[in-house]
Symmetry: C2
Subunit: 242 residues, 2 copies
């Protein structure tokens, strides 16, 4: 009876851990939506809200660390349970990073509000929506859990990288056309990079779900499609320039 009682308690703790991850994931999704809105509307109030929400997300990571450390110390889990606990720790860390990047995206709204509007903001919004969809999918993959869904989301990260590549070039071209665009576009370069990093963390979560369920690594490195580190964009020739 005493043993059964302990097992039941432990199951409840594991459930609480998973529910906390789901709640934290929901907060990161909301943060992402708000950050993109802050940038597209150059909305400083929304940017401030993102900044406040970030500390709530940090607090959730602390909560998951406390829960998992307690379980490791008191329940001394092995095999599947140990894997689930270490997976939750990793996922919480990834979600915290995603929240942080979203906050950094939102922060730039106030600089953008003081600068001339530039076109590539629309591309940023599209990239943000795509990334938000992928975050939703990996969180569903964790909650169900569903390995196929995790792998599908993991593969779609390439689409984010491709959008980032186009945006990188587009932003540089805007800068070359008119020096008054340079500061806004430099901020948008970082916004685009941060969204691309959020996508990378989403794929990390997909990998963790896979490992938790299968006990092996997701095989075959996904081809990295962010090629911008090598990009050379030339300004138009002097005689072609207006």
């Amino acid at each position: 009876m005493a043993d059964q009682h302990i097992v039941k308690q432990f199951d409840e703790e594991l459930d609480e851990m998973r529910a906390t991850i789901a709640q934290m994931g929901g907060m990161v999704e909301q943060q992402m939506t708000n950050a993109i809105m802050a940038i597209s509307r150059r909305d400083e109030v929304m940017a401030k809200r993102c900044q406040e929400a970030d500390s709530e997300i940090d607090a959730m990571e602390d909560k998951i660390e406390a829960l998992t450390t307690r379980m490791l110390a008191l329940r001394q889990p092995v095999a599947l349970d140990l894997r689930a606990i270490l997976a939750a720790l990793k996922i919480a860390h990834n979600l915290e990073r995603m929240g942080d990047y979203a906050k950094n995206v939102a922060k730039r709204a106030s600089a953008l509000a003081q600068l001339p509007e530039v076109g590539p903001v629309n591309g940023i919004v599209r990239m943000g929506r795509l990334t938000h969809g992928i975050i939703k999918d990996v969180l569903d993959a964790y909650a169900e859990p569903n390995v196929d869904k995790a792998v599908a989301a993991w593969t779609r990260d390439q689409e984010i990288d491709q959008m980032y590549n186009s945006l990188f070039r587009e932003l540089l071209t805007y800068m070359m056309e008119d020096p008054r665009n340079i500061t806004a576009c430099a901020h948008l370069l970082f916004v685009a990079k941060n969204i691309e990093r959020i996508g990378d963390h989403a794929t990390n979560i997909a990998e963790t779900v896979y490992f938790q369920e299968k006990g092996t690594r997701l095989e075959g490195l996904r081809p990295k499609s962010d090629r911008t580190s090598y990009a050379v964009v030339e300004p138009p020739e002097a005689d072609e320039a207006i």
Copy 2:
């Protein structure tokens, strides 16, 4: 006797874990030195070496994950030992991120080699040296362990942020002066940001050392000094421009 034997084995495993962290830290230090050299000399061979070294650093993180998971499962540690194991896991993760950022710095050497040289590269080299010093200090703080050294390194991260602020503005000014500088300076913006992120991860390690030793959080949030998200840099007025 059997108990003593188990205790001795566990101590050896903890020693191995710490030695592996030290080795991984040394690799990240070397990676940092090589990445800065690749950028300052626009040296594509060195950049390629950094790329190869990154997978060795990743393998070290895997090794530490395997070691710690095994200890958690077989030794079921509590209190100080549990804290040391979770600290090693966190530090390995931070070192992996630092290695990754350093690789990303080095990667941009090949784009830079095809572009006109720009002045702010010297500032990048100084920022890289400062960051390298802080990495060395937090690794020493972990190895000894020495809480005071960890706190001192943690505080010095502000210097990195300040250098990053100046570089951000300097790079934007170079872009505004001549559109031919734009691509090189965009790459250097990311290089500077990556070094700043490496510094952030070094402070995370300092915080982990503090928590491992004291069991409490490093009090008082260090003031964040990266203010570039809010920076508005204006091009010179048309009539002032050459």
